[in-house]
């Protein structure tokens, strides 16, 4: 059901104009509003039309009923016509309200407003003329101070008092520094009337853009150029009566160019949060998993939906911190954005395909997204609820006993960074000082060696001394033994038996002790025998010595004794020692 009212926006005092109400259905009762500010010259005249079209065998029927008034304004001012009412199938519908501005009549103008496309087109000279005030274009912006990425609407509008039959060579401005999205506008068929500084212009919107400044600073929207084909009345010259009646028109090409428009773009305030995605406007974010529980190796999709108003298309999509052992594919991003006068509004959908490769519970932390809110002039952060994904072991794989069927993985390195600094245990020293080559270093070697040689020297000397002493004793052993025997011989002369044997025994043992280098206390017959055998003394001589000792000890304690025995014993001892002396050199 569609019920619309239509009339020019601006009219001149005394001008006739049409007011039409159109309804797209068979209407019953039509109730016009109060038309009292205007004089009703004719109407309401009713007309209806039916349009039947068959497309692919499907028939659609369009019906239209129009009520037309012809009005004339008598007083200047701005008037509002309240909605008309119409009854269709027992229901009442309302049309839109209209505002009509009536301006003062001007003398010598108003003749241009003849919509007569059927007029003769004579003299098709493509002459370019300066358009002057009667024809111009403008690029209008709704704001000239914006934040970076804050949308603004640029409208390219044509103003004309002339009769335009066509447009050529349209050059739209380069919107440098802007990201632009076109706003749908109805195709320009007829110029609307508009009051511009007290003059009626026919105006038409050629294009409308939603612009998002991409950088800060003074940005300029360049000029818009268009060639208009204008029908101009030829004056003078042929003065036939027909010419006067029909008028003579010719086409004139007029090139018009708009002024460049400056827009001041402020940068976004500093201190953007970490999750700032470049979004400016106001947004909501939502995340959901299509399944909460899956089997291992099955795909799940995580859908992030950013919805709201602002530069949805150019903003980065928020990043999700997936668990590192989830297999995640690059997201599929789709935009569903509606661009209108009020800005861009819609949804950006980011879909991740996730495949859990291991059983277990995976947590998807809240996804954060920050944006700059234009209303509050501040950065806001929105976040989703945390999600959990439960992956169950894949069932039915009997060949591997329920085990996972894919290869084992290495520990995947997620990032690499340098190792941390040393925090303690610094052994600071002077630069370029080394133990090697230092005095202490060499002193250690020198000192060690010196100590070694000192020890060596003393040990040597001591050993030599003791060796010398033994040699001396050995050398003197014979002399010493003879001395002892001499003492024994004195006792022999005194016939002192005890003393004689004792002295002889001492002489024999003492000789052996000195000669062999054995202390007297360690002396025994076997010891002496062994030592002598070592020195390869003939066995006969050894027994002679041992017998001598035996005899001596025996005789010492024997009761019967004679001096003759003593004499013989003395000689025997002397000869044995002499014999040993020769052998023991």
């Amino acid at each position: 059901m569609d019920f619309t009212a239509k009339a020019p926006n601006v009219v001149r005092q005394g001008q006739q104009f049409r007011l039409t109400y159109t309804v797209n259905s068979q209407a019953g009762d039509f109730n016009p509003p109060d038309l009292s500010p205007f004089d009703v010259l004719a109407g309401p005249s009713t007309s209806s039309s039916t349009n039947v079209s068959i497309i692919n065998g499907k028939m659609t029927r369009k019906y239209r009923q129009t009520y037309t008034y012809v009005l004339q304004a008598s007083e200047t001012g701005k008037y509002t016509l309240s909605p008309a009412q119409v009854e269709v199938d027992g229901q009442t519908y309302q049309s839109n309200a209209l505002t009509i501005e009536v301006i003062k009549q001007k003398q010598g103008s108003g003749g241009q407003k003849q919509s007569s496309p059927s007029q003769a087109q004579k003299g098709k000279t493509k002459e370019v003329q300066a358009p002057g005030d009667d024809l111009f274009v403008k690029v209008l912006v709704d704001k000239d101070r914006v934040y970076q990425a804050e949308p603004l609407v640029a409208t390219i509008k044509l103003y004309s008092k002339l009769n335009i039959s066509g447009l050529e060579n349209v050059k739209f401005p380069a919107f440098e520094g802007f990201y632009k999205q076109e706003i749908e506008t109805p195709t320009l068929r007829q110029l609307e009337k508009e009051n511009v500084n007290g003059q009626i212009y026919g105006t038409g919107i050629l294009k409308k853009y939603l612009l998002f400044p991409q950088k800060s600073g003074q940005l300029t929207i360049g000029s818009f150029q268009v060639d208009c084909i204008v029908q101009k009345k030829v004056e003078g010259k042929s003065r036939s009566i027909f010419d006067d009646f029909f008028g003579s028109y010719r086409n004139v090409r007029m090139s018009v160019e708009s002024e460049p428009v400056g827009v001041q773009v402020r940068p976004l305030p500093s201190g953007a949060p970490r999750h700032f995605s470049g979004g400016v406007g106001s947004f909501q974010i939502d995340a959901k998993l299509d399944k909460q529980q899956v089997k291992v190796n099955e795909g799940v999709s995580l859908t992030l939906e950013v919805s709201g108003r602002g530069n949805l298309k150019v903003m980065d999509h928020p990043s999700v911190e997936f668990a590192p052992d989830l297999e995640v594919y690059d997201p599929k991003v789709s935009n569903n954005i509606e661009v209108s006068q009020r800005g861009a509004r819609g949804t950006k959908t980011i879909e991740y395909l996730i495949i859990p490769r291991h059983a277990g519970e995976y947590r998807i932390p809240p996804v954060r997204m920050s944006y700059f809110d234009l209303d509050q002039q501040a950065y806001l952060t929105r976040q989703t609820e945390p999600l959990t994904l439960q992956a169950k072991p894949a069932a039915g794989d009997t060949t591997t006993g329920g085990r996972r069927s894919y290869a084992r993985q290495d520990v995947s390195i997620i990032g690499s960074d340098i190792r941390y600094i040393q925090t303690d245990g610094f052994d600071l020293k002077e630069k370029n000082t080394f133990v090697f080559g230092s005095p202490g270093f060499y002193l250690t070697y020198a000192g060690g060696l010196a100590a070694f040689f000192v020890v060596l020297f003393f040990r040597r000397r001591k050993a030599k001394e003791s060796a010398d002493l033994a040699l001396l004793k050995q050398r003197k052993a014979n002399k010493f033994a003879r001395k002892r025997l001499k003492a024994a011989s004195r006792y022999l002369k005194q016939d002192n038996k005890d003393q004689f044997y004792e002295e002889t025994l001492k002489a024999l043992w003492g000789y052996m002790s000195d000669k062999l280098g054995i202390p007297i206390a360690d002396l025994s017959r076997d010891h002496v025998r062994g030592k002598l055998q070592e020195r390869e003394i003939p066995e006969e001589l050894i027994s002679r010595f041992v017998d001598l000792i035996d005899n001596c000890e025996y005789a010492r304690y024997a009761p019967a004794s004679q001096s003759g025995g003593m004499e013989q014993f003395y000689r025997e001892a002397l000869s044995t020692i002499t014999a040993l002396q020769q052998k023991l050199k």
């Binding site: 370029n432 133990v435 100590a451």
Partner: protein, 239 residues
Amino acid sequence: MSLQAGARQVHPLVDSANQQYQNGHYHQAIELYSQVLAAGKEAPGIYYNLANAYYKSNQLAPAILNYERARLRDPGNEDIRHNLKLARQQITDRIEKIPEFFLTRWFRQFINLFSSDQWAYISMATFLAFLLLFSLYLYAGRLALKKGAFWSSILTLAIAVSSFAFSLQQKQDIVRSQEAIVFDAKVTVRSSPDESGTELFVIHEGTKVYIEDRVSEWYEIELTDGSQGWLKRQSVEPI
């Protein structure tokens, strides 16, 4: 005594530098570590931390330079090697290394187990041990002990002599370093030490070169792949 006092003065500087690093103020940390070094003090850890700070502030060439310096002074440190490797991966030039003979490589790796000072201490200790063992050999009564003492003294002497040589080697690597790191973003290497020399190849920031010869303003350098040429002295920084 004065050295002790000096060391204590530097320590707070190191601590505050570490603090700055922990807080992410890498530029201030660089400043403070450099002050420690400017005061004539050094430790492998200081070079290492300084290099980390450079790395974190995206200054690759000084980072590599200081990692190299740290590595020369503490060749066994795993952290230094790891970070140096990571930093090297990010430089522009990928130069194929001439493969070393495996024995040379093993020998090099063995020497790099310890720093010059550590080898010096090992040498001193084993030398003293040698003297003791040799004395034992000289004066031991029992034959088995004598034998054991003799062979172990020979072994310790060998260790003492070789670690003496290693210590010298490691010291020379630092004192007479022939290595340098390219600091300019891009350097053209020429065939002769003047501006008109034929352009041979171009190397980039962070690449290691070996200095072969010096002529006034110029260095003759060799890359790890064996190519040689001349470049201006100020485009590189010796390690």
